[in-house]
């Protein structure tokens, strides 16, 4: 984080729990990282690791039975968690916008694309309906869809997934947000379409200096998009580093595993590596390191206490006993 001077948003000690019948699920547990203006921060991890909930927490859209328990989300000079609902609403879709995973279900099936596109324009930029329509045609063109006028009159079910995701991006861009949160924006799409969408996002970042918080499980996407990477596991940040540093020099055994399971062109292996075991239940996690059971280099201390995230060189942070000084490595 040394190189980052201009911080747009900073998440500090964020904890979001789900209060279920079975018990409290600590989906996001004491997570901290920051997003510099105009940069792309990727949050990676297996599904269920809390990365989507982190994104929703930033939007303050965590649904029942989830609740943001504590922490701070600084955006500019305000703490988002302390804003009144009305003020927060004024930021959503305006300064902070979000693109979701499932474009097919994320648009209202009974409203036309046009109606859904003009809403934030009228709400935040106080445009008249007519102005908003004109503006939204421009947006559609901007996200690379031809025949904008026709598009405005179309219903979501008439469009393909890739088109819909472009529309979602257009909606997100409509008020020139400072921060764009993209929650698995390409997961549900065809491979070829994925690349186009990523290109589009990259272009936007370049054009309008929008910061992007990219949520993904796909290391390929990370490599292509991110400036900075946050790795989450079981609701916690376990490693954080600039993208090149992370890919070249992963430190946490989990990150290493992730990178090993990624096929590399040109190298043949009998079968793809996969991390043994599965993501632990988030209820009643003990004091141990959550990854201990799956870890190939597990230490006795790992089963007793949880490591704290610590700053290393090259802006590299990691939460692992292996890198703590004075820890006995003997079995």
């Amino acid at each position: 984080m040394t190189t980052m001077t201009n911080t747009l948003a900073e998440i500090k000690g964020l904890s979001t729990y789900f209060h279920t019948e079975e018990g409290i699920v600590k989906a996001v547990d004491d997570v901290s990282f920051s997003i510099p203006a105009g940069r792309t921060v990727a949050v990676v991890g297996e599904s269920g690791c809390g990365k989507s909930v982190t994104a929703l927490s930033v939007m303050r859209l965590v649904a029942e039975p989830g609740r943001i328990e504590k922490g701070e989300i600084r955006f500019g000079d305000q703490d988002l968690l302390r804003l009144r609902e009305g003020e927060m609403r004024g930021l959503r879709g305006n300064d902070i916008a979000m693109v979701f995973q499932e474009p097919m279900s994320s648009l209202n099936p009974v409203l036309t694309i046009g109606e859904q596109l003009i809403e934030p324009l009228m709400e935040h930029r106080l445009l008249s309906k007519k102005e908003a329509r004109a503006e939204s045609a421009g947006l559609i063109t901007r996200v690379g869809i031809p025949r904008a006028e026709e598009m405005l009159k179309a219903y979501p079910h008439e469009l393909s997934g890739g088109m819909l995701q472009r529309i979602m991006i257009a909606i997100a861009l409509s008020c020139q947000p400072k921060l764009l949160i993209a929650d698995e924006p390409t997961t549900a799409l065809d491979v070829t379409v994925q690349a186009q969408i990523l290109d589009l996002l990259n272009g936007i970042k370049a054009e309008s200096n929008t910061a992007i918080l990219l949520i993904t499980h796909d290391l390929g996407v990370v490599a292509e998009m991110a400036d900075h990477v946050v790795v989450m596991y079981a609701g916690k940040v376990i490693e954080e580093a600039p993208v090149i540093e992370l890919f070249q020099n992963p430190r946490h055994p989990y990150t290493k595993g992730l990178l090993r399971s990624k096929p590399v062109i040109g190298r043949r292996e009998e079968r793809l590596y996969s991390i043994p075991g599965q993501v632990p239940q988030l209820i009643g996690l003990g004091e141990a390191c959550a990854f201990a059971d799956r870890c190939e280099s597990c230490l006795p201390v790992c089963r007793e206490r949880r490591p704290v995230i610590t700053q290393g060189e090259n802006g590299h942070l990691v939460a692992c006993w292996l890198y703590e000084e004075g820890v006995s490595r003997d079995e």
Binding site: N108, P109, P120, E123, I171
Partner: protein
């Protein structure tokens, strides 16, 4: 679209004929007839009367006679009222219709608001109370509800009339008349609304709960829209879609009358005529009314399908 509607309308003809056959035979098979209901008659006079009414003919022949007359626009004479079925229904149908429309409007509005509100606040006290209330109205005899309202508002407070449609012997006209009828409508409409609003509320709540969990509602929130817009524009529109089917069921209901409420409040509606006609086996009235309701059912279903196509772009009829 036009072709679809035309095809469906043409489809209705064989259905109506089929329905008329079934209904006619159902009534013909019902034990007992109009003449039976007068115990004072001697068997000879009964036979004479059956011949006069044509009740002694074979069912098939009776059906064709009836059908022939219907095709000429003649629905026959009410045996007990001694006037054409159409004028009889005309006397009572609109009274029921008035109440039904008012009730329909109130029921849907109230159910919509309560249903949506309790869905938005699922698991709140309000929601729990509404749920209890809904089931309480279902288990509480409507008969008592009517009597209670009468006791309270009419007998004790003298605010509203006990029953009827106008004050006895009243000579009012114009707006005074409208006001008088409106006053008499209040209590029956309340009873019917309470009866109907429960299940409908439940229905809207469920639909709303289903919709509110969907992704596009989250999108709408993420756009920073006001909660009102999110709920009433984005969620509600979708939650209302399945309700269209329900609305179509209401069409025949508008003309069917509500027997118990009409009775308690002495409302001159068609429900009581229907019941009397059935008790006394006044076939022309039964056939006329049932055919009318059948037709409305079929039209209602057709309307539902068309409206559904219009309202939901995904199943729009091409």
């Amino acid at each position: 679209m036009a072709i679809y509607v035309l095809r469906r309308v043409l489809n209705m003809i064989p259905i109506l004929i089929g329905v008329s056959v079934i209904i006619f035979f159902v009534f013909a098979m019902t034990p007992g007839d109009f003449v039976d209901s007068n115990q004072k008659l001697t068997p000879e006079r009964q036979a004479e009367l059956r011949a006069l009414y044509g009740l002694d003919k074979p069912v098939l022949e009776r059906y064709f006679i009836w059908m022939g007359n219907v095709l000429q626009g003649d629905f026959g004479y009410s045996m007990q009222h001694q006037i054409p079925v159409t004028s009889l229904l005309n006397q009572y149908l609109w009274n029921s219709f008035m109440i039904a429309v008012a009730t329909l409007f109130l029921t849907w509005t109230i159910a919509l608001f309560i249903g949506v509100f309790s869905a938005v606040r699922q698991h709140s006290w309000f929601d729990a109370l509404v749920t209890l209330g809904v089931f309480a109205t279902m288990s509480f005899p409507s008969f008592f509800l009517g009597l209670l309202l009468i006791k309270f508002f009419a007998v004790d407070l003298h605010w509203l009339p006990v029953g009827g449609m106008i004050s006895t012997g009243s000579q009012t006209t114009g707006w005074a008349y409208v006001w008088e009828v409106a006053k008499h409508m209040i209590l029956p409409v309340i009873v019917l609304t309470v009866l109907g609003v429960g299940s409908l509320t439940r229905y809207f709540r469920t639909n709303m709960l289903d919709v509110i969990r969907q992704d596009f509602v989250r999108t709408a929130r993420a756009k920073g829209l006001k909660e009102k817009v999110v709920v009433y524009k984005h969620a509600l529109r979708n939650a209302l879609l399945p309700a269209i089917t329900l609305l179509a069921f209401e069409l025949p209901g508008l003309f069917a009358g509500a027997i118990i409420t009409e009775k308690i409040f002495n409302w001159p509606g068609v429900g009581q005529i229907h019941m009397q006609a059935l008790e006394i086996r006044d076939y022309p009235v039964l056939m006329g009314l049932t055919m009318l309701l059948s037709m409305l059912t079929i039209v209602g279903n057709l309307l539902a399908d068309i409206m559904y196509g219009v309202a939901d772009p995904r199943v729009r009829i091409k």
